[in-house]
Structure formats: structure tokens, C-alpha cells
Amino acid sequence: MDSSERRNIILKNYQDNTNRKDVEDSDYIKVNSRNASCIDNINIYIKINDDIIEDIKFNGEACVIAISSTVTLINNLIKKNIDEALNIIDNYEKMVDGLDYDSQVLNELLAFDDISKQPSRKICATLASRKIKEILEKSM
């Protein structure tokens, strides 16, 4: 992906507030994700029905990479079953770590493919994925 395409996707999703809101519904599992070394801090709300991720919302404050990667990931996970979702996260995290990964399942998450070259930003790009993965693994 070239850098202007990458930037366009990151910015578009950064500004996309569709799923950026707090939820008071007990059907949602709430989890907080923070980066202690910087100041990223978001709450994530996940609604799982049987095996399907019905919905994910989030709210909080974080840098452009953290927010945009959260939005992009959420867009990719909604309506997927848990196995599919974990597979997406697994490949996304491999990409961010600079390992071999399956680009077929990542869609717009590919916009974050050069994060692996910026080690200090890996924690930003995985702010949501780390916690969502934990929740999904617990729900299996």
C-alpha cells in the first residue's frame, strides 16, 4: 500500500465516530485498555451472541494510530464468528510484529502494515486488539 493510500484510510477511520460511544447495556462486555507508558486510554464494549460478534463500541482518548486502528479493527470484526475474529487479530498482530501474515483477511487493517518499522508505535496499534483478543478467548 502506498503512503497516501495508507494515510487516507487511517484518517478516514480516525474521523469515523459510528462506533465511538459508551454503552450502558449489560449485554455488552466492557473492558478497559491503556498504555501505561503513554496516555492512551479507551473502554471497549463487546456484544457476543452465541458465536457471533454482534457489535463492538469504544470510547476514550488516544493518539491517531490507536483510535484509527481500533475503528478499523472493529469494522473488520463485527458480524464475524469468534474463530474468524481471532484469525484476523492473529494476522494483524503478526503484521504489526513484522512476521509473515495472511493479507487476505485484513482488508483496511493493511493500512497499518508499516507500523512494524516503528517499534514505539506498536503499542498504539494494538491498543484494542490485545484486549478484544482476551475477551474472545474467554468467550470460546
Binding site: R6, R7, I10, L11, Y14, C38, I39, D40, N41, E61, A62, C63, V64, I65, I67
Partner: protein
């Protein structure tokens, strides 16, 4: 001023994070080298020539610090690893042994974590209460609000001289009068003031005072705990070991050495003390009043320039010290810092270890500029220019 003394300033950076730590002048580095090259030895073990040199330098520095803050006695100066350790020492070595259940300590929400968390621990360990002096609309501590916060249970007021986010300067002298009239002890955190304004412990009449060497052009890992002698005599050591005991026997009997040596267990940070000594000479040579005046002018210049930019929000334009907290409207503080870093401008983003201040500021995170005498109007012009061009900030940081 004096930029030529700092090698870091030759690296094409604009260093505006002096509240976090200051750069070090060459003389500090050379003093440390001199110790390692010419008279390496342990302290307080004066059995041979070099070790005597170390002892002399070590005690000479204590006396230099005594003069720098105008303490009565050198024995009122304890070397620690920094402001954090000093505060912990005072709270766990002194106050833990004199405070009782339901006694109250007054702090504010703009204190540094190191002046909050140890008190929180005492609430759990011995049941004291932490109360907050209310801040006014400019986040300042007023005498009226201090008076309002005092009850007959108040035993300690523990506050910064200058805070690290808002940079407000507290009227310590007046607070001290009120405190002492009510039999309250005053602990002052001078980490952010010591290198920027005159700190005179007798004039302020503080009971304890702390600061770090690395925020005053000295090395990291060295700091100072000042306490009035009669209070230090009642303080318990937190660390026990070599150097601090006069005698101990098989059955557990320990005789402590004198104040302040009894609080400096183990091999001290000798290079730190020697570096700090040089840093104090350095500040004295420039003159703390010259530093204060220059930094004040520079801050005014910075604030005036920032105010011309309508897309910048300033959170503390009404304070006097060299700290300015701001955001580019609608941009996350850390993104702003990353953007400025592209132009080698170093500012701090975050909550600056003052996590409970966010409620008062009504913003969680800010960028902080904190000035030093080596900063210049040209550097500020550069900062302003970069901020002016920040419309496409995301194009640059993504």
C-alpha cells in the same frame, strides 16, 4: 543564555521539557569524570588520601547545598536519590511515626504523584485522612482556601512550591505562618522551583523540603531532603546498613550515627553528589535571580505568541513560572508531541504524573512546555512557526 555550555544544544534540538529533566552543562560531566579519573574511592572511609578527598568533596557539597537553600546547619541536608525518595523518606520515616488515626494531611489535586501516593498509603496503614485544599479558577492555592481547609485535625500541609503541570507558584511564606499558628507542619516539594527561583528555607520557614539534582542541571539519581534539625532527630531511618550505624551487637542492639549520616545507609551516590556540587556552582555563577528574570520574560513572550494562534488552547496563561500547558484544538496531546518531534522540538505530552488534576483542568492530557535559561526567543519563534503549519498535522505524522 550560556548555550555554549551544553553539548546537547549542539544537536539541533529545541529542548522544551525542562520540567522533566534539564540538560547538563559540561562542567557537571567534567566534575564526574574527574572523580572517576583522579580520586575514585568510597565515602566515609577516610583511611587513605583519595578517600579523604572524597569525604571532603561530599561534605563540602552538603555545606554548599545548605548555603544554596539557606538552611541553618549542614546537618539538616540529607542526600537521597531524588525528590521522590525524599518525600517517601519524610512520610514513612517521620510522619508514619507521629501521625495518628484521623489526623489530616492537606495536599492539592495538582501535586505530583510522589507527594500523593505515600500519603494514600498512610491512610491505609495508620488511618490518616488526605484532604484537598481547593484551587481557585486559575488553579492556584489561595490563603483563604488554605484557611478554609484547616481543621483541628490538620497536622501536615504537603504541597509543591511550584507545580509541574500548571506551574503556579505557591505563597509558601504565608502558608507557613498559618500552618505554624495552627501547629501544622509544612512539607514543600521544590522539585520544580529549585532551579528557577530562590528557595530560602529559613525565610519560607518550611519544616521539610525536597528536590532532585537532575532538574537543576545536575545528574540523575541524586536529590536532597531538607528537614529542621529537631525534626530530623525524631525521624526514623528507612534504610539500615553500613555507614549509618555507630555500633551494633549480637543481641540486636543498634546505636545510630548522628543526623544526617544515619539516613544515608549504604554507599552513597558519590558521582551524583559531586555532579550536583558542580551544578550548584554553575547556577550560582549565572545567578538564580538572573535566571528567574530571564525565564519570566521568555514565558511572557511564549504566551503572547501562543495567544495569537486561535487554534491553540492554553490552560494556564495566568501563572508565573516557566510551564505552559496547551493543546492544538481537537488534536490529541501525544499526536501534537509527535508532530513537534518531527521538527526536533521536545515537549511532554500526558498527564504529567498529576493524574487527579484532570478533573480541575477539564482535560485529561496536555502538551507541556517548560523553559530554561538556555531557551531563546528564536526557539520559540521556531515552535510557533511549526505550530502555524500544523493544519496538515496528520499528513506529517502518519
Amino acid at each position: 543564555m550560556n548555550r555554549e555550555d551544553f553539548n546537547m544544544l549542539k544537536k539541533n534540538i529545541v529542548y522544551l521539557d525542562n520540567g522533566a529533566t534539564t540538560l547538563k552543562p559540561n562542567c557537571v560531566k567534567e566534575a564526574i569524570d574527574d572523580y572517576y579519573d583522579n580520586y575514585t574511592a568510597n565515602a566515609h572511609r577516610g583511611d587513605y588520601k583519595t578517600s579523604l578527598v572524597v569525604d571532603n568533596k561530599y561534605e563540602e557539597t552538603r555545606s554548599k547545598i545548605k548555603n544554596f537553600i539557606n538552611a541553618k546547619e549542614g546537618s539538616e541536608i540529607v542526600f537521597t536519590s531524588g525528590a521522590t525518595q525524599s518525600l517517601n523518606y519524610i512520610i514513612f520515616g517521620y510522619f508514619k511515626n507521629v501521625l495518628q488515626k484521623d489526623d489530616e494531611v492537606l495536599i492539592t489535586v495538582s501535586e505530583h504523584a510522589s507527594n500523593i501516593l505515600p500519603w494514600f498509603i498512610l491512610t491505609k496503614e495508620i488511618g490518616i485522612k488526605v484532604k484537598y485544599i481547593e484551587l481557585d479558577e486559575n488553579y492556584k492555592v489561595t490563603i483563604d482556601n488554605v484557611k478554609k481547609a484547616i481543621t483541628n485535625k490538620t497536622k501536615v500541609i504537603s504541597i509543591a512550591h511550584i507545580t509541574n503541570v500548571v506551574g503556579d507558584i505557591r505563597p509558601i511564606e504565608e502558608i507557613s505562618k498559618i500552618a505554624h499558628k495552627n501547629n501544622i507542619l509544612l512539607v514543600v516539594d521544590a522539585a520544580q522551583s529549585i532551579a528557577h527561583t530562590k528557595v530560602d528555607v529559613q525565610k519560607m520557614d518550611v519544616d521539610f523540603l525536597v528536590f532532585s539534582g537532575h532538574k537543576m542541571y545536575g545528574p540523575t539519581g541524586i536529590g536532597v531532603l531538607y528537614g529542621k534539625y529537631d525534626l530530623l532527630e525524631k525521624m526514623h531511618p528507612v534504610n539500615y546498613g553500613g555507614g549509618m550505624n555507630a555500633l551494633f551487637t549480637k543481641d540486636g542492639y543498634i546505636e545510630l550515627r548522628e543526623v544526617p549520616i544515619r539516613f544515608e545507609a549504604g554507599t552513597p551516590n558519590i558521582e551524583g553528589v559531586i555532579g550536583l556540587s558542580s551544578a550548584i556552582d554553575y547556577i550560582n555563577n549565572i545567578g538564580i535571580n538572573n535566571i528567574e528574570q530571564y525565564e519570566r520574560e521568555l514565558r511572557k513572550y511564549l504566551i503572547d505568541k501562543l495567544k495569537e494562534l486561535d487554534f491553540i488552547e492554553i490552560y494556564n496563561s495566568n501563572t508565573d513560572s516557566g510551564a505552559v500547558a496547551f493543546n492544538i484544538k481537537n488534536v490529541f496531546a501525544q499526536d501534537t508531541a509527535i508532530y513537534l518531534d518531527k521538527y526536533n522540538i521536545c515537549v511532554r505530552a500526558g498527564n504529567h504524573c498529576a493524574k487527579i488534576l484532570s478533573d480541575a483542568l477539564k482535560v485529561n492530557n496536555t502538551c507541556r512546555i517548560s523553559l530554561s535559561f538556555y531557551n531563546t526567543k528564536e526557539e520559540i519563534d521556531l515552535l510557533i512557526n511549526v505550530l502555524k503549519n500544523s493544519k496538515n498535522i496528520y499528513n506529517e505524522i502518519l
